[in-house]
Amino acid sequence: MADVDLDTLQRWLRTFAASVAEQKDALTSLDAAIGDADHGANMHRGMSAVVEGLSTPPADPATLFKQAGMTLVKSVGGASGPLYGTFFLRMAPATGGAAALDPETFAKALRAGLEGVVARGKAELGDKTMVDALTPALDALDAALSSGESLASALRAASAAADEGRDATTPMVARKGRASYLGERSAGHQDPGATSTALLVAAAATAVAEQGDG
């Protein structure tokens, strides 16, 4: 299994941006039910800006993540800005400045990003947030890698776990974010943040699989 190179990581972000663009209205309508109806639009604006920034290619993965994080922080506007921004900003130093990331390093960087999100949002599992998709995804990724699976295969497992985590947010009562103001009324709706996070993990699986194919 080759290491994840800079091209693949850029493809990951482009793929995620494309998914967000495609799902923009769906994300916004999820948010309309329990939030302020801006998640799709905000993430679309943010990821479009990130892709725009890729026109000047970054030097290494750390620079790529830092650039993506800062762009999200500046352009998203809602809580996803600091949360996704922190995710990428924390990934950057965890790459150790490598030109390409081996699977363990990539997994470690993702984990650092998750820890950043948890620290920033102070959300726990079950609070009906993006953490509910990201945590099972990275647990699945680590488990698959340690049992010797390829990164592509491990990311597929991670993506499936993220989807499950996303679906599991539906019955939850929100305890963080704007949805928490609704209390019990937030139950019965899928969390938009967990939904976009599942897209992020799926995009990683797609991008790495393409590198494998190539």
Partner: protein
């Protein structure tokens, strides 16, 4: 203290409107206020980068309080902290207050000069007024503890003749400390605002005078206990009933020499007379007052800078206090109201200041009474600037006889016009006396009211500032005697000047280095004949600015001094400030006792980047010039070790190896350091005894407090024993220097040399005379003198040995 405020909101419109609302509550410029709200395209949202920039923009060095609306505003603000420099981040408070109410209160509190933590705390309490107005919170909102939701109320009447001034207010705050109670006080009599009982400064704002009725409102688990304690205290007049009238200032009636030299001349009596209010002058009265204040402000700055050079930054702080008074919002509001009522500028200013002075002078609290003199000083200076009567106190020629002298008055005396000063009170260690010595004005202090009264009536006075003699209307024989002394003194000084460039060698051939204390390159040039710059006070580069000087700037300043010394050694003392004089960019916790707090090396070690920059600048200069680095206020060997590590790191950072001629030493100011000199000795090249601070710490008598300044006599045998201990611990290889006031006392030279001191660093004007004094010393006799002094019971006995 200028705390900035940043408003973070999803909506630019909301933020702007909240800022406008808050602006109505603040007169004048208000605190620095920045908004980070909305997205660039006008949509709702927050941007951590913009917040970071807003915080940096609002920071004046005293911290920033950030108020946020909800959701991403909070997350983005937290993230923004990560983008800030460490030192900026440390002083940012993210405040959970509701945006609109919190902003209004924060703006008012910050405009009033409150520190960041207090601004945030006040803002966080901003809902209390509203919730108080709307009545008790609904039951379900109450916390589970049964009594927590209950509110206790009571009233008491202030019984103390001087009202609820600083001391009883401190007792009040102290009594409530530790209780789970939010106590609010309101002066019902004046229909004043409600203030927190937890804050001394807020309680002081009650303006509670005798007979005023104070309403108490307490919430929280210990509300009942809080009210009980308060009422008990009030019943007991806050402990003031037992306080007897404060003793009159000590007047020894025993003249003390305070500044050497002979003065003969007519008397210029200055008593309690205040500057007369000048007659009205037509024109824009507000403009006239502002111009006069601006002039006085400039003058105070000049005096402050001069005092900082002559006597050190800490002492010079008194002039900052006066400058603050000049711009005190309360005073200005009062004067402004009088101007609005049609009063002339001078009369309005005099009335406003008289009222403040009257309040302070009547206070039972010693500190407050001392401040009354400052108020008077500021009042008079502005009146003079308003074209008032010429300065009757100190403008004329003649020997000045007064009860006391303020530092501001002392700092501007000209020896050519004021041959001498005679004071009824004061002491040789008071600020005024230190300044008189620096100015070269002979002075005798503590002569007592009786002698001062006779002196005021005299036609001619003869004063000997070396012996303390004050002769009223001297007969021809006495006059001839004083003239002969003056002549001898002049001759002695001329001789000293002629020989200034020669080394100072005792009769038996022991060389004693005589250095100059400098605070600028100009001082270095003024110290003609000095063997070295034995104390370079580097504070001058750090005062009066918004940010610390960088390495390049410091290097240039130190290099200029080294070049002015032309190859002679310079001893650079690292930054020596403390909480009594915080720098704008060095926010410090308020300390109850800053002279025993984080100052000197303690402060430097707590701010590694600051020390690192300074040491790098010093190391760079040390590659080209002979340089000593000296650490102030060292108390323990671990501090020295840490400082030396920082120096090693600076050497490494500069990257040119260790400068061959770089020596390291410490100030000995803390008695413990003197007693542990042997423990420090292996790691230093020299000790430099700061006798001013060593004396105040040894006698537990603050130099700046004239009420105890007489105790703080550097010739106290206790202080001398510590100097002897330092010399003994230093051994053969470590040079012992004295760079305090005592080093400049010609009469003390033999004593210090006898105690083992081999370097004296003095004010520029004293270099030649101290060198000359060294030349008269015989080491064997000096050692006998030192031994005798160490057995003396007090400073007076030591002083009589020196004559």
């Amino acid at each position: 203290m200028t705390v900035g405020i940043v408003v973070v909101s999803h909506s630019r419109a909301l933020a702007d409107a909240a800022v406008a609302l808050a602006g109505e509550m603040v007169t004048g410029d208000g605190p620095p206020l920045e908004v980070a709200a909305g997205l660039d395209d006008g949509g709702f949202g927050t941007d951590a980068v913009a917040i970071g920039e807003a915080i940096a923009g609002a920071d004046r060095g005293d911290g920033v309080v950030v108020l946020m609306d909800l959701g991403s505003a909070v997350l983005s603000a937290e993230l923004a902290l990560e983008f800030l420099d460490d030192d900026v981040r440390e002083r940012v408070v993210l405040c959970p207050a509701p945006l609109v109410e919190g902003l209004v209160v924060a703006a008012v509190s910050a405009a009033g000069g409150a520190p960041a933590a207090e601004v945030a705390a006040e803002a966080s309490d901003a809902l209390l007024a509203k919730s108080g107005h709307l009545g008790p919170a609904p039951a379900e909102a109450a916390t589970p503890e049964p009594s927590a939701g209950a509110e206790e109320t009571a009233t008491f009447t202030v019984g103390m003749p001087h009202g609820l001034h600083a001391r009883p207010a401190a007792a009040l705050v102290g009594a409530l400390r530790g209780l789970d109670a939010d106590v609010r006080l309101r002066n019902v009599t004046v229909d004043g605002p409600e203030v927190s009982g937890a804050s001394l400064s807020r309680v002081a704002t009650l303006g509670a005078l005798q007979g005023h009725e104070i309403a108490v409102r307490a919430g929280g688990g210990d509300a009942a206990e809080a009210v009980r304690r308060l009422l008990a205290l009030a019943e007991d007049d806050f402990g003031e009933s037992a306080t007897v009238a404060p003793p009159a200032p000590v007047s020894t009636g025993r003249p003390i020499p305070a500044s050497a030299g002979i003065g003969i001349g007519p008397v210029l009596a200055a008593g309690a007379a205040t500057v007369a209010v000048p007659a009205p002058v037509p024109g824009d009265q507000r403009r006239r007052l502002d111009d006069a204040r601006a002039g006085v402000r400039d003058h105070l700055r000049t005096v402050r800078d001069r005092a900082a050079r002559d006597i050190g930054a800490a002492e010079a702080a008194i002039f900052d206090a006066q400058a603050l008074l000049l711009d005190d919002p309360e005073v200005l509001a009062d004067a402004g109201a009088r101007l609005d009522a049609g009063t002339d500028a001078a009369q309005a200013w005099a009335d406003a200041l008289d009222e403040v002075e009257g309040r302070l002078a009547a206070a039972a609290d010693e500190y407050l009474r001392a401040r009354a003199a400052d108020v008077r000083d500021v009042r008079d200076q502005v009146l003079r600037a308003l074209g008032g009567v010429a300065d009757a106190d100190t403008a004329g020629d003649g020997i000045l006889v007064a009860d006391e002298l303020t530092p501001a008055e002392a700092a501007v005396l000209d020896p050519a016009r004021t041959p001498a000063v005679v004071l009824a009170g004061s002491s040789p260690t008071a600020h005024a006396a230190i300044l008189l010595r620096a100015r070269g004005v002979p002075a005798v202090v503590g002569v007592g009211a009786a002698l001062a009264a006779r002196a005021r009536e005299a036609a001619v006075l003869a004063v000997d500032g070396s012996t303390g003699e004050v002769v009223v209307d001297p007969d021809p024989a006495a006059l001839a005697d004083f003239r002969a002394r003056a002549e001898a003194l002049t001759e002695h000084r001329d001789e000293a000047s002629r020989r200034a460039g020669e080394p100072a060698v005792t009769r038996d051939g022991t060389t004693v280095l005589v250095g100059v204390n400098v605070g600028s390159a100009a001082d270095a040039r003024a110290g003609v004949g000095a063997d070295l710059a034995g104390l370079v006070r580097t504070e001058f580069g750090f005062l009066d600015r918004r940010e610390a000087p960088d390495v390049d700037e410091q290097e240039a300043a130190y290099r200029a001094i080294a070049e002015a010394m032309g190859g002679r050694r310079i001893t650079l003392r690292t930054l020596d400030v403390g909480g009594d004089k915080p720098l704008d960019y060095l926010p410090m916790r308020a300390e109850a006792n800053p002279f025993l707090g984080v100052r000197g090396i303690r402060l430097a070690l707590a701010r590694p980047p600051l020390l690192a920059d300074q040491l790098q600048a010093i190391v760079r200069v040390a590659h080209d010039h002979p340089v000593d680095v000296m650490f102030p206020m060292v108390a323990g060997t671990d501090e020295l070790a840490a400082a030396r590590r920082a120096l090693d790191e600076a050497v490494e950072a500069v990257g040119r190896g260790r400068p061959a001629d770089l020596r390291v030493g410490i100030m000995v100011e803390v008695p413990a350091a003197a007693l542990k000199a042997a423990a420090f000795a292996p790691d230093v090249d020299f000790f430099s005894i700061g006798t001013n601070d060593l004396t105040q710490y040894t006698l537990a008598a603050e130099r700046g407090n004239d009420a105890v300044a007489a105790l703080a006599d550097a010739l106290d045998p206790g202080v001398l024993a510590l100097i002897a201990a330092t010399a003994e611990g230093a051994g053969e290889d470590v040079l012992v220097a004295v760079c305090g006031e005592l080093a400049g006392d010609e009469q003390a030279a033999a004593l210090l040399i006898g105690l083992g001191v081999r370097e004296l660093s003095v004010a520029p004007g004293s270099v030649a005379t101290v060198k000359q004094a060294v030349r008269d010393v015989d080491l064997a006799l000096a050692r006998d003198l030192a031994a005798a002094a160490l057995t003396c019971p007090d400073a007076t006995a030591v002083r009589s040995l020196l004559r």
